[in-house]
């Protein structure tokens, strides 16, 4: 009993001293579970996020855009892989992590339940969705779990590149023909609010926030992060002459921040609970690819077994 208390004290001291918790360190079960939930959700988001972007890969308008998009999606897959590996350091296997996604026990970012309907959506996803993700992830570079923090440092570098590419891509449309500009504005209209929802519920309504802040898994609150994102994005929209679809958006001199309208939390809940346009498709596609690949994975396992069996003789 005394020993357990000592371990807990060592853990608490490390958190207080801003030292990283490493895989072999003792950690409370709740901390471990909370991290598995957050990191696997993060990994699944990278992987499911490949789908709305992949939706335009075979229809990209130029060979350069196609190459850039393919490289970007490949980066997302790499982030997913990296985060799965980081999650495995917590004593769970990748099979279990993926199974939780398929069972509906693990979630992914709800924004990927929205459809990518035009080419402008690819720009909007890079600009807004990756932009929002970066705000989140920059804060997570200081998260208390070492492997997660290091993953974030690496992932942030690539994400900021994606964000610039997305912005550049939608900027070309905003400066283009009337149809292209309308396409860009329509994409902003559809992706703006879901991007704000990416930061999660208001702090007071967030289920895991308080404990995560204490453990320094989360370093900034949902509302703080959302405000940073709005503040940095408003001028970006102005520069390319697109209008953010929020009549309440205005600079607040006193707060030195932008005020913005209330999020439609009913829509947020609807989409999280399965009523988005693509909830079923996203999960079904992941399951289908996994099921179709079963014979390939079986073949690799059998091949490796045969090889090691031979050399072991």
């Amino acid at each position: 009993m005394a020993e357990a208390n000592d371990l807990e004290q060592v853990f608490e001291n490390k958190i207080d001293a801003e030292e990283k918790i490493e895989p072999k360190d003792w950690m409370p079960e709740g901390y471990r579970k909370n991290l598995i939930r957050q990191m696997s959700q993060h990994a699944h988001s990278e992987v499911i996020g490949m789908q709305p972007e992949g939706n335009w890969l075979t229809r990209a308008p130029t060979l350069e855009r196609k190459s850039v998009l393919l490289a970007k999606i490949q980066d997302e897959a790499g982030h997913g892989l990296y985060l799965y590996s980081a999650t495995e350091t917590l004593g769970i296997t990748r099979e279990e992590i993926v199974q939780a996604l398929h069972d509906g026990r693990a979630k992914y970012a709800s924004i990927f339940n929205y459809p990518s309907l035009t080419w402008a959506d690819i720009g909007a996803i890079g600009w807004l969705v990756d932009g929002a993700a970066i705000v989140n992830q920059v804060a997570l570079q200081r998260t208390s779990y070492g492997p997660y923090a290091r993953a974030m440092v690496r992932i942030c570098k690539e994400e900021s590149f994606h964000q610039r590419q997305g912005y550049e891509s939608i900027a070309v449309l905003a400066r283009g023909s009337a149809q292209q500009k309308a396409m860009a504005q329509d994409a902003l209209n559809r992706w703006w609010w879901p991007s704000l929802m990416m930061f999660g519920p208001h702090d007071a309504d967030s289920a895991h926030s308080a404990q995560s802040m204490l453990w320094k898994i989360k370093r900034k609150s949902n509302d703080e992060l959302r405000q940073s994102f709005v503040d940095q994005t408003v001028s970006q929209a102005e520069i390319i002459d697109l209008e953010i679809p929020d009549p309440d958006l205005k600079w607040n001199e006193q707060r030195q921040h932008f005020d913005f309208g209330e999020i439609d939390w009913d829509e947020f809940k609807q989409v999280i609970n399965g009523n988005g346009l693509c909830n079923r498709e996203r999960l079904a596609q992941h399951k289908k690819a996994h099921a179709n690949g079963a014979w390939v994975r079986d073949a690799v396992a059998a091949y490796v077994k045969g090889k090691t069996g031979e050399s072991g003789e």
């Binding site: 992987v47 490949m50 789908q51 992949g54 890969l57 075979t58 229809r59 990209a60 308008p61 130029t62 060979l63 350069e64 855009r65 196609k66 190459s67 393919l70 490289a71 999606i73 490949q74 897959a77 790499g78 997913g80 892989l81 799965y84 080419w119 070309v172 449309l173 283009g176 023909s177 149809q179 292209q180 596609q285 992941h286 289908k288 690819a289 179709n292 690949g293 079963a294 014979w295 390939v296 994975r297 079986d298 073949a299 690799v300 059998a302 091949y303 045969g306």
Partner: protein, 253 residues
């Protein structure tokens, strides 16, 4: 100024190589978020990026003489104007089909681009030099997959053998020389495809045999891509690939 007729021939040759790479790259894109493992998704993207890069270099080069940009060539020609091999336009099939096609092509490309490095045309030689480095990695990966699939399970062996049987009749086109390529060969610019055949066949036969896979005895072969006579699949691919440039012509993207 250079020889007009020779320049036109070189452009046509570059167009063939560019179309092979473009059409195959497009097929590889179809695996995005659909591969058997996340690692394989990443690997296929890697290979796809190499093909798209090669396509751009070759089409830019062809376009210089033809007076068209890489995107005009990619997005504004109909199927009859495409010059790719039939092999690369076939639907991607299952993982065995895609990987067998990759392997058969990789072994060919390794020989082909090694030869093309010595082309008297500097640009083609430079494209070949870059491509050879990439293809070495492709070939190492796809040859490994032949082992894993051929020596894996009964199912993987059967699927892989079936893919070989389906693809074999498209292989003769890789080794076909026509008037254009013969003329460029004599000028020291093009590769002698015929000469590559026996080495390719020996390598492929041995590699597949070591993986419990056989070269089929078949009596059919299909050609036509170099003349613009394609399978029905290419038109559907282009319908998808060219959608934006066709629906909104003449714009910057």
């Amino acid at each position: 100024m250079g020889d007009k007729k020779l320049d036109d021939q070189i452009a046509e040759y570059a167009l063939r190589l560019g179309d092979d790479a473009l059409v195959f790259g497009q097929r590889l894109c179809e695996w995005c978020a659909d591969a058997p493992t996340l690692e394989e998704d990443i690997a296929i993207s890697n290979v796809g990026l190499d093909y798209l890069g090669r396509a751009r270099m070759a089409l830019q080069y062809a376009g210089k003489t033809l007076g068209r940009t890489e995107d005009e060539l990619a997005f504004l020609r109909d199927s009859g104007e495409f010059r790719n091999l039939l092999l690369v336009e076939l639907p991607r099939g299952d993982f065995a089909f895609s990987m067998v096609r990759q392997y058969l092509l990789d072994e060919f490309e390794l020989l082909f681009f090694t030869q093309l490095c010595g082309s008297k045309d500097d640009t083609l030689g430079a494209i070949a030099a870059k491509t050879v480095k990439e293809v070495r990695y492709h070939q190492r990966r796809s040859a490994n997959w032949m082992q894993r699939l051929g020596l894996g399970t009964q199912e993987s062996q059967a699927r892989t053998q079936a893919a070989i049987d389906q693809l074999w009749g498209y292989m003769p086109e890789l080794f076909e020389m026509d008037e254009l390529e013969t003329s460029l060969l004599q000028a020291g610019i093009a590769v002698d495809r015929l000469e590559l055949h026996s080495k390719w066949l020996n390598t492929v036969t041995a590699q597949l045999a070591s993986a419990n896979l056989q070269i089929p005895q078949i009596d059919w072969q299909v050609v036509g891509g170099r003349k613009g006579v394609h399978t029905e699949h290419l038109g559907h691919m282009l319908g998808e690939m060219q959608f934006l440039q066709r629906a909104y012509p003449g714009l910057q993207w």
